[in-house]
């Protein structure tokens, strides 16, 4: 935690919350990545072992978890691109707030595309 006794210059609003969301989404993705490499490694054990474990990904609970995971990945990716622009584009810092809302809009559009398709895959319409 920041230990500043007084306020800090950058506290609050889109700049701080995008940073917080970037950390949390990154941490979640990293933990999933460790598990995901382990479950994929089961292809070296046997087709049955892999199919058994990967079958869990097709259940409702995991299916909903995948929506959260894809949401976290998309946010982290889009906000990461914003971060690169903030760092390397000469006008980046001036437009960081606008770019944050751009990230939110693109995220909503991509999720609106993914969500129905994933639900159809899961529940087989």
């Amino acid at each position: 935690m920041a230990s500043a006794q007084s306020g800090t210059l950058y506290r609050g609003r889109e700049g701080m919350w995008s940073w917080v969301a970037h950390r949390i989404s990154g941490m979640l993705i990293f933990l999933f990545l460790l598990v995901h490499v382990l479950d994929t490694a089961l292809v070296r054990v046997s087709p049955e072992a892999y199919n058994e474990v990967i079958g869990h990904y097709k259940t409702i609970v995991f299916g909903l978890g995948e929506i959260g995971l894809v949401g976290a990945v998309l946010f982290h990716a889009l906000n990461g691109l914003r971060l690169i622009l903030v760092d390397f584009w000469s006008k980046g810092t001036q437009h960081q707030r606008g770019m944050f809302w751009g990230v939110v809009i693109v995220w909503v559009v991509l999720m609106a595309g993914f969500l129905p398709r994933h639900l159809i895959h899961m529940f087989g319409a």
Binding site: M1, R23, G26, M27, I29, F30, L33, L34, V37, L38, T40, A41, V43, R44, S46, P47, E48, Y50, N51, I54, Y57, K58, G63, E66, V70, V73, A77, G80, L81, L83, I84, D87, F88, F114, R117, H118, H121, M122, G124
Partner: protein, 151 residues
């Protein structure tokens, strides 16, 4: 009476947060996060598109699906890059988080030790799996294998 000598830096002098100058590990790590991040956006969007969007999505993933992909060197290289870049990028991110929040030296050391162990083991395991994978294991149930194993 002598005039006191005061030294005021030139206003155009850039201030330095640290004494570090030129390329150093923290700067390389900062650069790596941006470069690998850009590549990972492409790699992971492609991965999600092929595995979760095309065909039957998550319902279509089984041994045959993975074996069909890894029979192609293109997807082997794709997944290998994703594995290495993803784990180093993620590991470096978690290293930053540990440095920020773990305040005792010992806790930082323990957490980073566990982190590096997990990253190295996962990278080595994943790399071995990609390179030693056999899409048509001897004695396996033929109905679980990809079509390329027939004949």
């Amino acid at each position: 009476m002598s005039t006191p000598i005061t030294s005021i830096p030139d206003p155009s002098t850039r201030y330095r947060r640290t004494g570090l100058r030129g390329p150093n590990m923290e700067m390389l790590s900062w650069m790596f996060m941006r470069a690998s991040g850009l590549l990972l956006v492409i790699l992971i969007f492609g991965h999600l598109f092929v595995n979760l969007w095309l065909g039957e999505g998550v319902k279509g993933i089984d041994f045959g699906f993975v074996a069909g992909k890894w029979a192609n060197p293109f997807w082997q290289v794709w997944d290998l890059l994703m594995l290495w870049l993803g784990l180093i990028h993620g590991g470096n991110g978690v290293r930053t988080i540990i440095n920020d929040y773990a305040r005792s030296n010992r806790l930082r050391l323990v957490l980073k030790g566990l982190l590096y162990f997990a990253v190295v083991v996962t990278i080595v395991l994943g790399t071995l799996v990609i390179f030693t994978f056999d899409p048509c294991p001897v004695g396996a149930d033929p109905s679980l294998l990809p079509s390329l194993c027939e004949g």
